[in-house]
Amino acid sequence: MHGRPRKPSKPEDEVASAAKASKLRSLQSQFLHFHHNHIYEKESIEVSAKLLEMNPEYYTAWNFRKLAVDHLLAQPLADPPSILNEELRVAESALRQNFKSYGAWHHRKWVLSKGHSPVDLELRLLDKFQKADPRNFHAWNYRRYVAALKNIAEEDELKYTTNMIEKNFSNYSAWHSRSILLSNLLKRKAKGFYPKEKILADEFELVHQAIFTDPDDQSGWFYHLWLLEQTVKEESPWLSSSWPASGSTVSPMHTADGNTLLLVLYFSQPVRGVNSSSVIVTTELAESKALTWRPLPLNNSDGARSWVALLKFPSLQSDDSTAHPVEVNLGYSAEIVSLGGSPLSNDFQTKFVVRFQQPDIQHVEEQEPIMWEDSNFKKDEMNFEESDLIPSFNQLQINKDQEGVASKWKVDILNDEVLLFRELLSAMDCKIGKLTLAKLLMALDTMFFESSGSKSYKMVYVEEVLGLYSELMKMDPPHFHYYKEQHSLALLEQITSSKDRLLRYCWCYKNSGTNDRSAVWVRLNNQSLSQIGCIERLLWVQNLDLSHNELGSLEGLEALQLIERINLSNNKLKGFTSLAPLRHLKLLKVLNISNNKIGQHTIDTTRYLCPSPLSNDWKSHPSSVHDPQLLKYFDAFLIFRDLTLTQLNISGNPVREPDFACFIRKVIPTLKWLE
């Protein structure tokens, strides 16, 4: 069934196929006549059967037969079993013609759903099909359907996959079916499938046999990746980070609406149900009852990792220098759940202090444009270490005791796996083995953190992981970008792993003061990053330099709500739509996107994923329809209309027509410096 080379057709084959085509055409026109006139007679049904036996891919004919069956069943003297048996026969002979025909399998399912057909026959038929081609995923899908209909225990079906895998372990469909069955069994903690760690250990053992016997066969590796995910993943989400950080002292901002304080919650996985009743903010000063929590990005109303709210303080109290404690509690209500429906793992609480500052200290107008050259940044005079400018790590108050016990088996499994794959790699060079090892080591590095509850990640393996990804980039160029992304994420894990490490990337700008958080510049330039990660540990950042990297997307950046100045120059941003995350950064003042590839392609392919002139977004700006400039730069308009930039550098991009500058000035009236 597999790995057969396609043979060029012979002349006699072509004659035969031409004859078949003409026969098909005549049948088809005959059939369409019946279909359009809703004729469900014996003759018309026979024509459709003939047609389908020749060409099982003809969906219209299958639909016609469904209509015909419904029609016949509605007759007063209908005999459902005989009508449906005929359908099963047609579907079977169509499947004999092409056992990968979607239409035929679907039709069979539909007939079976009518409930008049014996299911045992289906199992026998399936055995035949699965013998002919054990990897036919249609048959496997259908098998799961039939098994569910017949109430065959999932345990028995799991045994069936074991048998099939033992016959030939190079079978994606069998492994896949196994993963589905096992997920169900584990989820409902079926008898003999609890605790999870025991089952997973057995599965690892099984898949090792396949991987070691033939490391070049990918089916086992895929199952291993799935197992790894099952091992590492936490069902319950938790709060990984928040702003303001627990124990810190912050000042609200002066805005037109009064004093406001931005609250950010960042979860370990996308959650829903974050609202004023599930998150309780306790403060003596502000109105916390009616807080509106917004997910980021906005369109992800189903669930998001980051949620923001604006805490408003009633009035300016400039003389007030006392500390006002604020407490944020969540987890008491079961409203916050992951997309899979699991509630938060724990109760979370953060406490911080609000202190009001004089407006003149806080709000300094920029006198000159920010220059991003290295020479403008310095390290001396910094005493970030002593100050709490950089929020301490792992500041959440969580009772981690139980977590630690539960995770020990995970660490054990991962350690065993690491040993095993080191052994395999010592015997042979294997791309997917290196990738798996890298993933295992990375999982171990991050897992230590979760279980130990220490102040920083241990990061014992990260150097090795980075080395593995670098090797893979050289070894396997077709998947370069994937390895690059993984490398970037690992690098960011390392950079943000501890306060000390992160301090190496913190700088001061020129003569600005060092007593303010806004004076800390996090410079992650020249790291050849192609993706941004570890957002939860950068929530506090106000000035960020990501220049001279290889970023093609800014996904994740939207959660950095405090960002005021950002340098994205010399990256690989391809269009305005890739800047979309910046729209959510309400405090952004200085933006450098010079020397990217914005506007390189006349058609920005990413726009298809985003709002376009044809979407509702357009209708909300009816006035702009008649502005030719707006029409021309609509993508840019969508990004910049929400920003209140004072400084923008867009030079060195393919977009540099003079009217673009003109357009920008129109859209961003606050702009002082434009390059």
Partner: protein, 646 residues
């Protein structure tokens, strides 16, 4: 011409002239009869056998027939004088020597079918299977699959299942992950090599190295190497000892055998495993070929010994045979089983060769022997399977064990014995009877329990129960009780294979004219000997030269024309020795083409060498003929039907 005396037991055979007479119904003779009968110019054939059954050394016999057959026969009666022809007496020599042939105890059933030719199987992807299908002999046969292939681990006294594919490797619980990885990798390498992709092929240099070395260099663990060498490639001799090894398997041959094994697995959907065994015993094979020949018009006469060969009084050429009944029958050609001795003068009676006949060595002191044993038990060697092959590799039984022992257990479902009984055939190559007896006795002790002793304290060193820790260990209690056993030695008549543009057999008429030490005589042809004009240098592929134990590995074959229809053949040997034979072309052609002797059962588990030798004989005898021409389709069966294990 003498009138055939009327004999009440033997009605006279009519006609009296045939194209071909065959004496003995051994498998090669039977195949040749069927092939000659199926040839495009059909031959008239008379096939005789002195025994009351088909198969000779390849027969399957009941215990009561076995012992008389293995014992030497009575001397033939002297031929009656003849006027027109010289009658040369035909001698029977027994190739088998019984060592122990006790009578079957009365409590055992006597309806057992015992194979004389030892443990033997057909590989599903064998050329032999193709031949069975092509000759339509498969219609007369049914097969059972051999369920399991095991190798004996002497250290632990346990059996290890032989992994026949990467899927078996996957399933096996006895291997560590590293071992699985290595073995899987090796199977992959072999498959890549066989796929024919030039980039993936094993280099020619590597193919010439000993297989053992190749496997070691690949980094396979020792245990796995043993499995591949002895249980899959079925090497007979210890491959570990490169200095003292009679038969070192080359990588090329090893890979070929591995490929045969691999392609055998799964060839027939209803036969799992690589090997097949014919229902009712090995004796069915010669019988099926005889039946095919009979269908094509050959005449069969059993219980008919041949008393003498008839030769032309003037030329000495072969003319016919005189039967024990006294009747004279004539034919162009004669084929004999190897247990019949060619009369000395007959084949060599062409004048050109007369001088060489005197030295003709007819003593038949064969250096190569195979020891065979037949054991009867009431329980299987392995509880979960009934038909199985066990290889006991060199040094697994004792340290001097130089050859591996193959043991094939067949159960009642092959109809060779009542259900609930098991027949185990064992065999091993040996140099002499003592060596063979010792080895087989040790193997039997390792596999079975003596009925009376109850415990195996006779040989504590090899008692496998001592360090039993795994599930596979042959526990003392698990070992089957040995109900009966027979032990005998069989001589192997070598078929000397010389592969070149054409194949030649060294006829008995060859005379060793000289052997001397001379390094330069190997290749090119000897300089000093001015009469030597090399005609062609041939690559020699001789599976041991038999009679000369100092022959190590022939290096080259030189055929030199001497003029006058004479030529010399020289074989240069490692170490600088050179052997020469002198023949005339006419004598060679005459002797090869008129009288042939078929090979005896060899020491192999498979039939391939025998089938190949038989096919070569046929081509020499009937050069223009196709060996079993492809039949026109009407009665063609699908592959699957030929094999029907259920």
């Amino acid at each position: 011409m003498s009138n055939p005396p009327s004999h009440p037991e033997h009605p006279p055979i009519d006609p009296t002239n045939f194209d071909l007479i065959l004496i003995g119904t051994s498998l090669p003779s039977s195949i040749l009869a069927a092939a000659a009968a199926s040839a495009s110019v059909s031959k008239t054939i008379l096939h005789l056998d002195p025994n009351p059954f088909y198969g000779s050394l390849f027969s399957t016999l009941s215990p009561s027939h076995l012992s008389p057959y293995l014992s030497p026969p009575p001397p033939p009666s002297p031929p009656s004088p003849s006027t027109d022809y010289s009658a040369v007496p035909l001698f029977h020599r027994s190739l088998t020597t019984p060592i122990s042939l006790p009578p079957l105890p009365p409590h055992l059933p006597h309806n057992l079918a015992l194979d004389v030719s030892g443990p033997r199987v057909l590989f599903c992807a064998d050329s032999a299977i193709d031949l069975l299908l092509r000759s339509q002999v498969s219609h007369y046969l049914e097969f059972k699959a051999v369920d399991q292939n095991l190798i004996y681990d002497g250290e632990r006294g346990s059996f290890i299942a032989v992994p026949d594919s990467k899927f078996a490797v996957f399933k096996d619980k006895g291997f560590s992950l590293t071992e699985k990885n290595k073995l899987g990798g090796f199977f992959k390498l072999v498959n890549a090599h066989l796929s024919g992709d030039a980039n993936l092929c094993i280099s020619d240099d590597d193919l010439e190295t000993p297989f053992f070395e190749f496997l070691t260099n690949f980094g396979l663990p020792k245990r796995i190497i043993g499995i591949i060498l002895y249980a899959i490639a079925l090497a007979d001799y210890d491959q570990d000892n490169t200095e003292d090894c009679n038969n070192l398997l080359k990588t090329r041959d090893g890979i070929d055998r591995l490929a045969l094994y691999h392609s055998s697995v799964g060839r027939f959907p209803n036969a799992h495993g690589a090997m097949l065994y014919p229902m009712y015993g090995q004796g069915e094979l010669p019988q099926a070929f005889c039946r095919r020949a009979a269908v094509k018009g050959s005449i069969y006469v059993l219980r008919m010994p041949v008393a003498a060969l008839l030769t032309d009084k003037d030329t000495g050429h072969y003319r016919g045979v005189r039967l024990a009944s006294g009747q004279d029958i004539f034919s162009q050609k004669l084929i004999m089983d190897p247990d019949l001795v060619v009369p000395r003068d007959l084949a060599l009676s062409t004048p050109a060769n007369s001088e060489t006949t005197s030295n003709h060595s007819c003593s038949r002191d064969f250096e190569k022997k195979v020891a065979r044993a037949i054991c009867i038990t009431k329980t299987s060697l392995k509880s979960d399977s009934s038909n199985l092959l066990i290889v006991l590799p060199p040094r697994s039984l004792y340290s001097e064990q130089a050859t591996s022992v193959q043991a094939l257990q067949m159960s009642g479902n092959t109809a060779i014995c009542p259900v609930g009984m098991f027949v185990v055939h064992l065999s091993t190559l040996c140099n002499d009877a003592n060596q063979g007896e010792r080895l087989l006795t040790a193997a039997i002790d390792a596999l079975f329990r003596q009925p009376n002793s109850g415990s195996a304290n006779d040989d504590p060193g090899e008692s496998p129960s001592k360090n039993s820790d795994g599930p596979n260990v042959v526990q003392e209690e698990q070992r089957p009780v040995l109900e009966w056993r027979a032990l005998y030695i069989q001589d192997i008549t070598e078929t000397r294979r010389v592969s070149a543009n054409e194949s030649l057999c060294f006829p008995y008429s060859s005379k060793l004219i000289r052997s001397w030490s001379h390094p330069e005589t190997i290749t090119p042809a000897p300089k000093q000997h001015h009469r030597f004009e090399p005609m062609k240098t041939l690559e020699v592929q001789v599976r041991g030269l038999g009679g000369w134990d100092w022959v190590e590995s022939p290096a080259a074959l030189v055929i030199s024309g001497l003029g006058g229809g004479h030529f010399r053949v020289g074989v240069g040997l490692r170490g600088g020795e050179c052997l020469f034979w002198e023949w005339s072309w006419a004598g060679l052609v005459e002797s090869v083409h008129t009288i042939c002797t078929t090979p005896s059962p060899d020491g192999n588990l498979g039939y391939n060498d025998l089938f190949d030798a038989t096919e070569r004989m046929f081509r020499q005898m009937y050069p223009g003929e196709v060996f079993f021409p492809e039949q026109a389709a009407p009665e063609d069966n699908e592959d699957g039907e030929a094999v029907d294990p259920e």
